[in-house]
Symmetry: C2
């Protein structure tokens, strides 16, 4: 008989839902974790004789799933949560969000706002997020502090902001940030040209070349509203997707954020070139932007992942709520109750997000060799009884508050609902100070 293998941690789960292979639900199974990664998956009763773990978690009432991946957001805008609701998109941007941003955005705002966002994301089961915002270096500091995985979609615009003065400087800073973090296993970088209507051809072309050379993703808000498409047709004589295609941006590295307005030809184009769509259902509904045809996109082979967007247009970073909204909205848009089933919604929030971010080999599922990015959900509550199908439960009837434990790269970020890498009281105090400053406006 062999001596037990020493490992860092073992997590026993009532239901282990690895997402890959598709549809698997392993009852009374466990995950072995060493050196930040998942090293084994086996029935819990077999594990006792095989492993000796420094820490053991016995999650008897829990579903254990891959850490959720929020593929689009503007984290520090959490400081503007609820500052402007129930107003039309143009009014919202021009009379509320932009003036507030002009007044308040600086490194401190971004770092502290991102920390608030990360606190909410960890509490609600997210272990990796994509962020498109100014001062991505400050976002990186906040993420490093909390030990959460992030992809910085470094913003590029034609016009100046507090972070850079022109497209050239944005691009320079983005590539510099890439160099700074090229060896990090927690902080990843990408280009984040804001939208076709805010970035002209020359910088888009430059981004396209750099992204290919450095093998980096490109995040862009695109076809968010019918107005955007109509304006582009009037200005450029073509729809934004066509313009991007001419500029060489439609590749597997492209993340099309929102994409509520797509023709069948455009869907084929995205599919053919392997581009992803990042669906933000709650933001699209709240701003009445438009409806993304998730079921149709998926049937055409387009990878669709999920994002909350920023808190100013959501108003939370709750990926359980987002999965729920994606599944429900997907059905009514497809006029088919079998569209966007629970399993698909869960994939959109995990493995599809990983693929979109170019991290499909590292995260997004509970598989041996992947990072131990893990979320445990307590199903011992009234809204989770009875349980015929835990995946359906997670998507249709789970509140994020049921998240009890979260690991990122094997580090415990949340234990029994308590933040481990961040100080809740500090986050609350800092946020209240910002609230008082912003509310005065």
């Amino acid at each position: 008989m062999q001596p037990p293998e020493k490992i860092d941690q073992i997590i026993h789960a009532k239901w282990l839902i690895p997402v890959v292979p598709k549809g698997a639900v392993l009852e009374n199974h466990c995950l072995a974790i060493s050196d930040k990664k998942i090293t084994a998956i086996c029935p819990s009763d077999e594990a006792k004789s095989i492993f000796s773990a420094d820490r053991e978690y016995d999650l008897k009432d829990h579903a254990v799933i891959p850490g959720l991946i929020n593929s689009h957001g503007h984290a520090s805008m959490s400081l503007l949560r609820g500052a402007a609701d129930d107003v039309p998109l143009k009014d919202w941007l021009e009379n509320y969000i932009w003036p507030l941003e002009n007044e308040f955005i600086n490194e401190e705002f971004v770092e502290q706002g991102t920390t608030l966002a990360i606190a909410e994301m960890i509490t609600s089961g997210t272990t990796c997020f994509a962020d498109m915002y100014f001062f991505p270096d400050a976002v990186a500091r906040a993420a490093t502090e909390a030990n959460i995985r992030v992809q910085l979609a470094c913003p590029v615009l034609d016009f100046p902001s507090a972070w850079a003065k022109d497209a050239e400087e944005y691009i320079y800073k983005a590539t510099k940030l890439h160099d700074d973090f090229r060896n990090s296993d927690l902080i990843y970088t990408a280009f984040g040209p804001h939208a076709p209507y805010t970035v002209s051809d020359a910088p888009l072309q430059k981004i396209s070349i750099l992204a290919e050379e450095l093998d980096l993703p490109i995040h862009i808000h695109i076809h968010e509203t019918s107005q955007e498409v109509a304006d582009a047709l009037a200005a450029d004589g073509m729809r934004p997707i066509e313009r991007l295609h001419k500029l060489g941006l439609i590749t597997p590295r492209l993340l099309c954020i929102h994409a509520t307005q797509l023709t069948d030809d455009e869907i084929s184009l995205l599919s053919q070139h392997g581009a992803s769509v990042i669906h933000c259902p709650e933001s699209n509904m709240k701003l009445a932007s438009g409806l993304c045809e998730v079921s149709k996109l998926s049937k055409h082979g387009v990878n669709v992942a999920l994002g909350t967007d920023g808190c100013a247009s959501n108003n939370d970073l709750n990926m359980f709520s987002e999965m729920h909204s994606a599944a429900l909205l997907g059905k009514i848009v497809a006029e088919d109750a079998s569209a966007v089933p629970a399993q698909q919604a869960l994939e959109m929030a995990t493995i599809n997000g990983a693929k979109a971010l170019g991290l499909g080999d590292l995260i997004g599922s509970l598989e041996i060799g992947k990072y131990a990015d893990i979320t445990a959900v307590d199903l011992n509550c009234m809204n989770a009884k009875p349980i015929y199908n835990p995946v359906s439960q997670l998507v249709y009837a789970t509140q994020a508050a049921q998240v009890s434990h979260v690991w990122c790269g094997g580090s415990v970020l949340l234990e029994n609902g308590k933040l481990q890498t961040l100080d809740s009281k500090n986050v609350a105090t800092t946020t209240t100070l910002w609230q008082h400053r912003i509310a005065r406006k």
Copy 2:
């Protein structure tokens, strides 16, 4: 100086949101409660010298709102939560729900299933629910036990069920139930003819007359899908609403459940005759039934309230999630980000529900003389920071798990998140027994 007035309870709240008057948010105010009712509302610092209360609650981080009113559901179907998801409506009914109901429905199923539902509803801030299901007497027992307010929409069908053999017996049992509870201040009754396609003209006419004589509401599923309307046109030569109008059912006592398919003339008809619409956004999305035009209905003066529908098509009884979905869906349907603002969603879940149920003078707002049906929501959590507008917070970023305290008629049903009138462990055990029986099918 007068001696302090003796009262039963006093509740101090950081934010008191009475719903009526519209838009009011009273900071650091309190509610005085005696003999089941709200007897005073005043600033907390003034209350100390005025009142001497047997019990005092100091809810410093909380929004205190009227208890939520779930205006449509089938409570005991909670035992079928997640038993059949992601299948088209017809398949769902014919191959899953009806066979399960045929197999399992009896008094015990209804009482125990309703108790599970009530446990979830209390935990998530609901203090009054409308229920359309067989064995309403068993529902009444469960509600009495838990001390939650209910309106029994006693079912009427042309065909037999475990509860009654024909329309005549259903109607007889409904009127008998009305007599049994006519003096109750907790259990209310109504007629619940299932739908135009399951109840023929004669019983509908009889219900219309009885409802007028007894002044009782009539709940009916109507215009839920375009197929229902098309089938009715083919069978009767008219749309269901027109048929109900001819039969004299379109009155202020009518609750039109779902109503996703309404012409402008039908909206005018409902408005003119004071009928209510019960919007079930999550059920409508999950079953891909259709879209209710909430904003348009409201602009035409139709009272629109909110319901979760049964757990088999939702899959929870979470009115916070339902308000959230109603506000988001309302905007995208109206193609207007200012449609169905947060205040309106909150009204739909409170005062509009009270009005629809004919209980507008008794519940639905925090006003002197109304029953002390109250819900407290803890806003001291990451997803509730910062707070610029607590009503927006409640609708767009609150999880039902933040509900800390619930009162119904002054009785405490939930205290610090713990059920007071029900035994959680008993509910869990009973539910698990049903799960094992049902899962075997």
